[in-house]
């Protein structure tokens, strides 16, 4: 028989009292700071100029970076653009650099999560890139120090899909018969930060395709809105969808593009 932990009033009272007593004792016997991640205990702000002395490569082009729109002077600490993300730098400067003395977003996403709360939530979902596991970092896809965080615009040579296809090479193509969704970008169908759906899909059902591949019912003979027809490609797909999603059951399987079927059947 299955058992679950039982939380009773007594458990709360005695457990809470014990933890509280432990905490009070700790205040007396220990003389040490502890802070929530991603802060550096005991560190104070030193200002961006200090950072630039060693990290010119990161600070040199920051003025044109997306995040520089948010880097404003602090009333007390002055220009702390770098330390807004990397944490107060006094211990790092005093130590002459070194691991553990500064927040490195390339190692941990906690610095990014300070503002991007929604991304913490998405990376915590069952279907996400392994950022929380430390195998992929925010910096693998985004450069916070230079240019736009999402590459695409006229000032960048890169295209938006290059961020994905540098690792997902099999989806890169070019395919003889491209899927136009790939022109719109991988993120049209996948949320790279995480999703409730398998494969980080924004929808794990036919809606994924029907967003674009859906036509007025009148495009088949006698069709009108509300008569039960689901029209795509000039054909009613209702009975076909009974078998599963558009990309299952031998229908349109090569979703990223095909070299043999314009309809991306295989």
């Amino acid at each position: 028989m299955r058992t679950q932990p039982r939380w009773t009033k007594s458990t709360l009272i005695f457990g809470g009292a014990a933890i509280w007593a432990l905490f009070l004792v700790s205040c007396v016997v220990a003389d040490r700071a502890i802070v929530a991640p991603p802060k550096i205990a005991g560190a104070t702000y030193v200002g961006t100029k200090e950072c630039a002395q060693c990290h010119e490569e990161q600070t040199g082009h920051f003025d044109g970076a997306t995040h520089s729109n948010l880097a404003m002077k602090d009333a007390k600490a002055g220009d702390i653009g770098c330390e807004s993300c990397h944490g107060a730098g006094s211990i790092h400067v005093k130590a002459g650099g070194g691991k553990g003395t500064i927040i490195n977003p390339a190692k941990s996403p906690e610095a990014c999560f300070q503002c991007h709360l929604d991304k913490r939530g998405e990376f915590s979902l069952p279907n996400a890139h392994p950022v929380l596991a430390g195998q992929v970092t925010c910096n693998d896809c985004h450069d916070p120090h230079k240019g736009h965080v999402v590459k695409r615009t006229g000032a960048e040579l890169e295209t938006i899909n290059e961020t994905c296809t540098k690792c997902h090479t099999a989806q890169k193509g070019p395919f003889l018969f491209k899927h136009n969704a790939m022109v719109e970008g991988c993120t049209v169908c996948h949320n790279p930060h995480g999703s409730v759906n398998q494969k980080m899909l924004v929808a794990r059902d036919a809606n994924l395709c029907l967003r674009c591949h859906l036509e007025h019912p009148a495009n088949v003979a006698g069709g009108v809105i509300g008569d039960g027809k689901i029209v795509a490609g000039g054909e009613d797909h209702r009975t076909r969808l009974q078998g599963g999603t558009c990309w299952s059951a031998g229908c349109h399987e090569d979703v990223h593009g095909s070299n043999a079927s314009k309809a991306m059947r295989y």
Partner: protein
Amino acid sequence: MKVTSFRSLRSASLLASLALALTAPQTFGAAIPTDAFPLFDSYIKISGKVPSVTGDDAAYARRFQTPANGAYGIEALHFAKDLDKETALEFDGRALTGVEDYLGKFKITKNEVGSLDFGYKRFRTFYDGIGGFFPLNNSFRQLGNAELHTDRAKFWVGAKIERPNAPKFEISYVNDLRDGRKDTTIWGDTDFTGIPISSQSSLNLFSANRKITPSYMDLNERQETLLGVMKHTVGNTEYEFEISNNRNNSRDTRWVNRNPGELKPFPAIPSSPASVIPPELANNPTFGFDTQTTKSTIMTYMGKFETKVSEKLMVFGSLSYQDASADIGGDRQMTLTILTPIGPVSSVGMFVANGRPPYSYTTQFGHTNEKILTGNLGVTLTPTKDLRMTLALKGEKLDMDGVNQVTYINNLLVQSTGALTPVNIPAPNTAKRTEKSWVPELDVRYTGIKDLSLYGTFDFRYSPGQDDGTSTGVTPGGPVVLPNVVTSSDNTKLNHNHYKVGANWTVNSAVSVRGEFFYKDHTNKYSDRITAGDGYVLGYQFRGAKFTAIVKPDARITFTTRFVHQTGKMDTTVDGALNYQSMDSKNDMFGETIDWNPTTQFYMQGNLNVVFATIQTAYPSAGGTGNDVLRNADNNYTNGSLIAGFVVDKNTDAQLQYTFYRADNYSAPTVVTQFYGAGVKEYTVALSLKHKFSDRLIGSLKVGYFDSKNDTTGGFTNFRGPMGYITIDHAL
């Protein structure tokens, strides 16, 4: 039971919060960080993680990316040494069995000379092979392959020469590998879904021969990149030249199997006629694979410059040329077995007269070429110290052509005799594509108002092109199959516009707020087409806003709030037909993080995310029988975490951690097709202690409990149990 536990936890949190708040002023500020745990310059960290899983091991492995039998080994090894005043040596390593996570990284740096580094990294991703759950008859499919995982590995070696006031050179070689077996959402067909099937097709309420079963893929991908970079600064101008050779070699195979006799009768189907699938319908075993191969070489040449003409003007530009050629291939062989008077007959691509062949083919030869020329030119103007503007224009020219000559493998079966006749069809496929894109951009930032930063980015992509192609398939043609040639010629015009404006306002030292509005408008037009029905005039618009507020009432507590709202609409049509709104989507995300450091010896951090997201397409406007296969795609969820850490004594820290995730979108009522939405409830709770045994030795112990319930799979993948995690850090 669970409701009770959550109420209890909530009560406990409130009690603890109240008590801490009352006493915080007495303790805050009293401590000085003198007993901090040491930071080791060089260290080794050994760890072991052992869960005790009750339930589905594969689902646990996928969720926590750790096998159910745990993982242990060297979690981190760092060695740093100054060889002399100018030369530093660093080594990082990791070797965790179970999760098969390995790292060996070596780097030697000499100030004002350069560096050399090389290494190897590998990690494993676990999959659960979950198939569909069909509540109609409590039917659930899961891949039988016990080992579903892929490994990503990377070997690299690189060198940099960085002399002062001299050109900087960088050369590197990277070899990326990805192999293993993973599940895929591209499922095959089955008769296991419980959909009512009768031997008399006229009595079937639903399609009898297209159902779904989970499938898996074998991946074998390799990417090699040889890169050379030269950077130099002359006066006020930075130059960069880059040449790279990228080679890809991939062979990915998807397996599509359907086993006979999988029918699980739907209880509501009457027994007359018996609900048994006759062989000539859909219950024939099918075993097949679909292999796609690519072997490509991509040469890229790139040069860029950035010159500071004056304090108010900077000019930049770049030019890139990419030449990619690839050998492509496909091998798809679907083997069917059908009962005949002479016994079961199996063959690749087997079909009966007037039946549809299962699309088996093999590539004779295939090749693609793609050339992309890209260049941009821009200026950054700073007319005043508070105004910064970037104007840039990018142009792209893409030329692609390709051919893929395949042969369809078909075998006609005469079921009354068992005789087979090959009907192979040669099938050419060709494509030719050109695009000339123009991408202007305007980026503005103004900081002339005290404590306020205003910014905006406007970028457009105008991309006309021509897309021609010939695709050859096969179609039933009585006793044989016939080639089905589709020729297309599309004149394409893409207009993609993106707008973003925002503000960052530091209200005072305690409050800062940010707001950003965005709008995305895409229109794709296809004209001069010679084949109707396969292209769409597509227009869609997304608009929304992001708001972030950071409030610090005092130095001990910070509230960070973020709200993101987005709506989207799409319109589609085909040439000469009526417009139709094909999508209506809404997405609202609310996030809150509270950091509370009431004393220097205690912290609490809470995170909460609440998301309401829905995508609506034809449901419910399809109406009638159309809605038996449709529901909205709802992706609502809530997740969060609560972490509390405190100092136990001068050598010990403790941390309590609680995480949860809820999704309640599972739509079971659909009688046919695949499930809609996800329904999950899960939580983890853990207590960890970290203790300094000496100035060179730190250990930690974490014990916890996890519980995951998944309605999407009918509970067949639930798992729960305790876990333990122990680490030892030792200075080297």
